[in-house]
Symmetry: C2
Subunit: 409 residues, 2 copies
Amino acid sequence: MAGPIPLSPLALKLPALPAVAGVRLAVGEAGIRYHGRADVLLAAFAEGTAVAGVFTKNVCPGAPVTWCREVLPGGTARALVVNAGNANVFNGVAGQRAVEATAHAAAKALGATPEEVFLASTGVIGEPMPAQKIVAVMADLSARLGGSNLADAARAIMTTDTFPKAAARTARLGGVEVSIAGIAKGSGMIAPDMATMLAFLFTDAAIPAPALQAMLAKGVDHSFNCITIDSDTSTSDTVLLFATGQAGNKPTDDPAHLGDFRRALGEVLHDLAMAVVRDGEGAQKLVKITVDGAVSNHSAKKIGMAIANSPLVKTAIAGEDANWGRIVMAVGKAGEPADRDRLAIAIGGVWMAKAGGVVPGYNEAPVVAHMKGREIEIEVDIGLGQGRATVWTCDLTHGYIDINGSYRS
Amino acid sequence: MAGPIPLSPLALKLPALPAVAGVRLAVGEAGIRYHGRADVLLAAFAEGTAVAGVFTKNVCPGAPVTWCREVLPGGTARALVVNAGNANVFNGVAGQRAVEATAHAAAKALGATPEEVFLASTGVIGEPMPAQKIVAVMADLSARLGGSNLADAARAIMTTDTFPKAAARTARLGGVEVSIAGIAKGSGMIAPDMATMLAFLFTDAAIPAPALQAMLAKGVDHSFNCITIDSDTSTSDTVLLFATGQAGNKPTDDPAHLGDFRRALGEVLHDLAMAVVRDGEGAQKLVKITVDGAVSNHSAKKIGMAIANSPLVKTAIAGEDANWGRIVMAVGKAGEPADRDRLAIAIGGVWMAKAGGVVPGYNEAPVVAHMKGREIEIEVDIGLGQGRATVWTCDLTHGYIDINGSYRS
């Protein structure tokens, strides 16, 4: 990739983002890989902040993921440090020492313990992590903590992202209005579970860590775990949710009281996941795939992901070709129950294939027009049961090859 | 794809191909999709020809696959009809009628029963199959049957292939020299089990169908089921092996006597599988991935396939980037036992990563040189057990997008 990566045509503008009480932010230039831009984020949290986290299922995780898994059971957080440019993955003992050095530096700067510091890194795998560059800017970062400039934070964690990603909602909780705001990065190595995807959510609600964890895990399952860009699962995927408890609601873990919060959390997660797909490396089209009539929801999701990960389906979409034959192929290779002669396929709301063959008199014109748009809708009815799932992906284009054929050079 | 697909830089020339006693061939122009080239192959076999077959595991198979599965238990074959340009997949009852019409026409022309006629089709999915175009040329084809021009046969079954694929060996069987010759096509929608991949093998050996079937299934497992181009599994994959029994050996199914035949069959299958990978859509490099030290051979193969199917690994290879971090990622996402801190990775014979980190003093120069070549070797040692597997793939390039972004247009 000779020049900069062009802005995704599916990019979204940042929404209005609230200051979340109990969250202070600062970004700085550690110069780990990028120069002339912020590449490190420090977030400081009020005392008593609860934390929940969900991490990659890749069995070769980065050192920061290992660190977070170890400290998460403590349930409280005072700081988050994120850097872009080096993922600190596959660095052996040196990688472990790098996370320890960073956690200690942040703890010292904020008067916390290292176990209250959460870490995430994104970027190249297998290059030594110069933690001293982060440690060197820690005092400056902590001195500049303030406000809640989430937009700057969203920019500081970008790698191959072409636009910053953030979302926010409010919810009613115990008669009080609470805020949830989140930022995310990610555009390649994106597949469930989960993606080269980092997402950090902040709320002023008072919710104990176990209830927070349950809601986050379920919310991620319906958002980040329903997207795929390239079927590759990062070693660094991290979603963290911090609840500062500053909104003044009575702390609660009663599911009956948490309904509106759960809705708002789900919406923030969905928005962030969609922003990641919209910034899929080389993406020109956002693709929504709904599978119905499978033998179970789990089966429907597996079929949806087989379609979403098929290079032949994705290149057909890039070529604006309503090639439903390739969708048939992808359904058949998913390894899930399906019957060629009950299968139905629609693109852009037009059912083109039913009961094992082309719909008689099928008019391709509206489908051709739909394929030229930015948002493609594919529906598949397996015809066997009630299982249903929706997944999202993007097309596979020359841009993906450009970006990934020379990422390190 | 505006112009013709350029010849793969990994293309091989056709080897010398023997006439196989008991096999007569003819190719013709049915004009199903292509014009000005042969697109249909008729092979006629001597009476008493035994047959074995292995087919796609895609649960939405084409009508010809369903037909072959139904007639295979008969164990005998008199004819094979193959067409290129239309896969006759997802055509419902009309697709079934098309295979019946073709089988009946070939049976009539050759004085056989329809159940002794094997069929395969490759090309676009979901377009009505004009069987009458094949039926119309059948009398002419059968009148021209003769010799054993395997090179013409290999050309007649090509679709997006850029070069014809064939291989041959001889073997000693019961004191007699027997021949095995095979042709194949396939260049995309290639993944185990197996590929948009058709392969037809012919031998003059006398071997009963059950023994033939056992050897073919095992041979396919070590050849076609060890290659992947794009992780997509075709609806039409078919490998058929016809044994005419004309060599004069005493028919045998004794494994102790079949060793040399099994070796030769394995070599023909391996050659054909390598030819398919070398013609991977857009391929610029052939990639051999050997995984050692996994907990089992099965686990080693799953890890190898995770690496071989990773778009990020494949684009890195296209960019001549020895990005072993992406190999670590792919190992970790395979869902198989692995330990980050025991993993070792070599490219071009140079061990660059060991025990969870970069090898001290690792010199990238010979690896950079290796990455510029046409044949890339990746070795991974999981460090947990004795499991071993080798798989082959190609890189992911702009050419793949070119070919698949506009296949139908």
